[in-house]
Symmetry: C2
Subunit: 360 residues, 2 copies
DNA sequence: GCCATATCTTTGATCGTTATCATATAACAC
DNA sequence: GTGTTATATGATAACGATCAAAGATATGGC
């Protein structure tokens, strides 16, 4: 590997001059020298040493990305169909902006903190971080942070939340289900922190609009971890007879449960309806195609990166808590229960209008 | 951020002594000094600066991972269900071995080379790299390389291929199809370099065993890129009437085509059978469940990382070209065509034994 | 007291790059 | 010729960690 010093020696000039040419500070260097240096740069295909650069400057040009959340059958979060799309968008945007990406998926927050400090990363994108972990990171790491799918406390500074209108998403989905006659709705969440909590609020509000009250026993938490997965699905299978629809907080779980249940003789949506969240490719491929809430993960990833880089470059950030729009996507996984009649104006079915009566 | 020098000054000792304690060279340091230093290390939660480390030592503790291949609807390769599982396994193994991962998904090989040189990464894992690009990388980058799903030329040194028994996989799958009476088999590949080529050889050999000859018109290449996707699927839909089965080189494409086709009235497997490759979660979730070739991506990722680290640490590598075992997984996406009878001994159907007659 | 050995500690150079400051040269005005 | 400015270039010291080699101190033998 050729260095600046090598080239300076070859041309009989100082390293400063070579460095200036590399950085385009050509106003300080004579035209003749610029040409000599540029010729050599091309000839040897000079590549700067970024370790040396980040040592003298305060910035490393590295953006750290941490993922935490749902795991697949290999205990692997990157394989999650939603996270992987988001991650891909983040990676390509980071690269095209001239930065480098380092990924951490560890559950060990101390390890994450050590990693970001040891490389002095310029900024951090945290996916699905929990509140306590976020506070821990903030206490040690002072550079800008962008959150995605996380609970965003107002009392901490120098970060931005790039979120969705989660509340509205769950609200509209719940309304859709009520509209189609569903009253026994199970709400399936990964945990009760972060976005799932916000979605649950939307769910409650929609129920309230129909004069119904959310019952905590209808809030089903999917236990994470590979070992518990089978047990969790079996338990949900047992509980499913109490409901007409499973409203899931991710397409991933909806699809997984749909295949598990249909293997056990449950007809979908005749016996049990399903809805998801995210609108990943999967939800279009499975049959019945999944009714879900669409977001644009590619756009979201790009926005997260560009916001972070703005913060790194100390530009003004207009919004502290961005809420990207969502869209209800109706497909075939929700049955219309005519016994309850129709509750929506645009629905073509005519029926009774016993609005607001719980069925239990 | 506290540095070694800060701590040395605080204790009135030299940086060398502090450095020795950090590296566990306690034989050279008095017990008393060790205790003093360790107390300070804990108190300030010292984290070394890796840029400075990689500057003095030849190693950066970074492993580069490059992905190239199938893209999803967002032109995103990380979202590919197979690559993402592999990537997740690679990430967690790299991390648990004390290394750091940097990802590159760019199609621009010059950019990739600049990136790995600028960080002086200790080793490289290349997924789905094409031959010419590999040669280019090799000409500039001299550290160890591990290939996954790539064509592995014998005349280049200092790399290991962590592959599958791709030929056997395609061979067994083709035999299975022939066994079930299929004669009009389309072979769908992403490209004709790398693993798909090797799989095609297995396919040809299986056909030959039945006295059949592979026809190049039955080799269908799926055009990559988002823009061409729809056109490519439509073209395949048009061609599908010539075949009884689509033998795909990935579950991803099989699942995608199955949903596209069934939306257009094709009954699967009655009208057209499908097979995949990889056995990703998707293939268990879709209906009909996909007959495919199983590999263990988590194991493969771990093996790739551990092999690379062995090479970095200059240990002996036993094998140059590892071929991990595969397994045929028969599910519901392949119809048995009784008109042709059975060709296998273990098949319970009795029928004619016109072994080796092509049907066209 | 002298030397040898073992144990502990420091000095100073190094990695590749960048920033600050100083210096050299040239051009021009008076 | 002197002073002023502009332009071009160089010397040097960081950045934080590591390492080889040299120096310092303690211990023991005779």
């Amino acid at each position: 590997m050729i260095t600046i010093k090598d080239m300076a020696d070859m041309l009989g000039i100082s390293t400063t001059t070579v460095s200036n040419v590399i950085h385009g500070k050509t106003s300080e260097v004579s035209q003749k020298t610029v040409e000599k240096v540029e010729k050599l740069l091309k000839e040897y295909d000079y590549v700067p040493n970024n370790s040396a650069r980040s040592l003298t400057q305060k910035c490393s040009k590295i953006i750290g990305v941490s993922l935490k959340g749902r795991k697949d059958q290999y205990d692997n979060i990157i394989a999650d169909p939603f996270f992987s799309v988001l991650l891909g968008a983040i990676e390509s945007e980071i690269r095209s902006r001239g930065y480098f990406m380092m990924i951490y998926t560890s559950d060990d927050i101390s390890e994450l903190i050590r990693n970001i400090l040891t490389w002095n990363v310029d900024g951090l994108i945290l996916l699905g971080i929990l509140h306590d972990d976020f506070v821990k990171i903030k206490s040690r790491y002072k550079n800008p942070i962008v959150l995605i799918d996380s609970y965003a406390p107002r009392d901490i500074m120098n970060y931005v939340n790039v979120g969705l209108d989660d509340e509205k998403g769950a609200y509209e989905m719940t309304l859709h289900l009520l509209d189609r006659g569903h009253r026994r709705i199970a709400f399936l969440a990964d945990n009760m922190e972060g976005v799932d909590y916000i979605r649950y609020i939307g769910h409650q509000k929609a129920l309230a609009k129909y004069g119904l009250k959310a019952d905590s026993k209808d809030l089903l938490i999917i236990r994470p971890g590979t070992a518990e997965r089978e047990a969790s699905m079996e338990e949900l299978f047992y509980l499913s007879r109490n409901y007409t629809v499973f409203m899931c907080c991710s397409d991933y779980w909806a699809a997984l449960l749909m295949s598990y249940f249909s293997d056990r003789g449950v007809r979908i949506p005749e016996d049990l309806s399903f809805t998801g969240f995210d609108d990943v490719l999967l939800s279009r491929i499975i049959r019945p195609a999944l009714t879900t809430v669409r977001q644009d993960p590619a756009k979201r990833g790009r926005l997260a990166v560009n916001t972070l880089i703005k913060m790194i470059q100390e530009e003004e950030i207009p919004e502290w808590d961005v809420k990207l729009p969502i869209e209800l996507v109706v497909r075939d996984s929700v049955k219309t229960i005519s016994a309850y009649g129709s509750y929506s104006q645009e629905n073509d079915m005519s029926g009774s209008c016993n609005d607001g009566n719980a069925d239990e």
